[in-house]
């Protein structure tokens, strides 16, 4: 074998092995590189003050109106859960229905130990499993940390819906593509607040840039003990809860 041939062979082998190793590394979750990069631009996050939520459900209505979410009760970008924990240890949970009659005050029922509302929405994870599994890259995380879906390329395989631990995704019956909370990306990119934050009468929902030195969100994170949902799954959620109860999953 002459030199040129050997060089070609070695070069090809290098390309192949490099490609294989590179491909393998890309298979690994993005956590490693995600943490190392220093974020300088905007990095959006969200705060929920559990104690402030009164379960009025205006956020749910505002979200559906703002984002054309189907009005049927099977599709939600955000929803509010009501927890009733009884003295005997039983926990009853349901999603509140903003249109329905208000439920009786929990304080009247002596068998109830504690009761509270928990607003839920997409956690805009820093290490989103939905993005990892999308076979065509139709869902991705923007530079400012919001996970979006491109409805023009989504093939509707629903793998992302399966991969989301928080039940935050649904298949839009209108477009037959995956859909989810975008933090109202069309609003925040022009300096407005997400619709749910804007309408919340008690400021239980706080939105902001995690990199900003002074903002309602950074104040919220400074003043409260913070927890996130399902931290064990290492998805690094960016929806932060203050005073979250251990019963909440």
């Amino acid at each position: 074998m002459n030199g040129r041939r050997r060089f070609l062979r070695d070069f090809l082998a290098l390309l192949c092995s490099g490609g294989a190793i590179g491909g393998f590394l890309k298979l690994l979750p993005g956590s490693a590189h995600a943490k190392e990069t220093v974020r300088t631009g905007k990095w959006y996050g969200y705060g929920v003050s559990v104690d402030k939520c009164i379960g009025c459900g205006r956020c749910m209505e505002a979200c559906k109106a703002e984002n054309n979410v189907p009005k049927e009760p099977f599709f939600f970008r955000t929803w509010v859960e009501r927890y009733i924990i009884r003295k005997n240890g039983e926990t009853a949970v349901r999603t509140i229905d903003p249109g329905a009659e208000p439920v009786p005050e929990a304080a009247l029922d002596k068998s109830i130990l504690r009761s509270f509302f928990v607003p839920k929405l997409c956690n805009q994870c820093a290490d989103p499993p939905c993005v990892q599994v999308c076979p065509v890259g139709a869902t991705w995380r923007t530079e400012d940390g919001v996970v979006l879906v491109n409805e023009k390329t989504c093939i509707g395989c629903r793998y992302c819906i399966q991969a989301c631990p928080y039940g935050a995704r649904y298949l839009s019956p209108a477009t037959h593509t995956a859909d989810k909370c975008t933090f109202c990306y069309h609003r925040i990119s022009v300096g407005q607040l997400p619709a749910c934050v804007e309408v919340c009468p008690t400021q239980a929902r706080i939105f902001g840039d995690l990199n900003a030195a002074a903002s309602p969100l950074s104040r919220f994170l400074r003043m409260n003990k913070i927890h996130v949902l399902k931290p064990g799954l290492n998805t690094e959620p960016k929806v932060y809860y203050a005073n979250l109860d251990g019963e909440v999953r």
Partner: protein, 420 residues
Amino acid sequence: MNQDLMRHLAEILPQIQGFIYPNEVEIHWGMLIVVYPYITGVVAGAFILASLVKVFNVKEVQPLYRLSLLTALAYLLVAPMALVSHLGHPGRFYEILLTPQTSSAMAMFGFVYAWYLMAVLLLEIWFVHRTDMIAWAEEKTGVMRFVYRALALFSRDTSARGVEFDHKALKTITIIGIPSAFLLHGYVGFIFGSIKANPWWSSVLIPIVFLFSAIVSGIALVILFYMVITPLAGGKINMKCVDKAVDFLFYAVIVDFSLEVVEFIHRVYQSEEEIKILSEMLMSKLFMSLIVIQVMLGMILPLAIISVTKIFRHRFSLNEDLRKMLYFISVLLIQFGIFATRWNVVIGGQMFSKSFRGLTTYKMEFGGLEGLLFALALLMLPVVILAILLKVLPPWKEMLAEGKDGDGRAVGGELPAPGA
């Protein structure tokens, strides 16, 4: 369409037990995704059976060799149909091939599939039939002559050297093929096993359980086909061959069953936060499909039947018809059992809420793309394709030759009893 969906979901609402996240009412992966792993499992299993002949030199199952290859091909051709038709946008399926995202397990499907189809199955089938196709081209006239010429890719070399090369190539392809078959179905298991959000799926054992259940279903199905097709083709069932194949099936079922038991014990013993809701699901929603069909009817009963033919082998060796019947019942039961396994993985994994507080339910529709009718059609389609393949590439010489290998030599000697 949307109104149908809304009505469908509204019907499910009253059947929800406990609390589920509001977006979880709809079960997203339905019947078609149950069919998909079942079909790829058959592909992998049938190929493993074929490789028993070529790589491990199990001469007794030679009559099943070509049949199992053609079965694998027939089922492999249908596998992507189930996947594509369940997409929200079936017309965009090519995106998965053109712009795959390397971090996605699902995106690899196109490549694993193409590799298996092109590099393994079609190549092996071509080399197996090459000289035959040349011979058939000589016998036939008109269009069929051209068809066989084209199928043989216009090769005309029937020299000893050519045949020798065929054999060598076959050996190599099968050796590559075994890990590829493992890859194909292990990969399907990984699609489920890698979802950390779902504790019913998320397990390192899932790809391995998938593999062994694949081997079980593939071997059982080829035996079933052999037992049905041979009499139809006017031949006599070669019991030495069936006995041997059932032997391998028996071991595969034992391994599969043990793996599933290990996983079950592991889950129960570890008893993590999801255990309550999973056991509730097991005892209510999945009781019929998992405990009764998958475990009792699909595993324990066939295992018991085959064990009986082994334990009392002297008695059964005399009565071939009884043995035939018992085998037939066993492989049929195993098919239902494996189908139930797929059902329990796919549907079961979506029936409990990721809040671990409640269960939804799966209502199968009759018509429509996600319906029962279409699923049955997809399950029957490989049989139709197989019938066509058997017409074009008839394996009769090999299938009907009792106790002889592909070249007509007698093999195996006298076997006194099955399982000996």
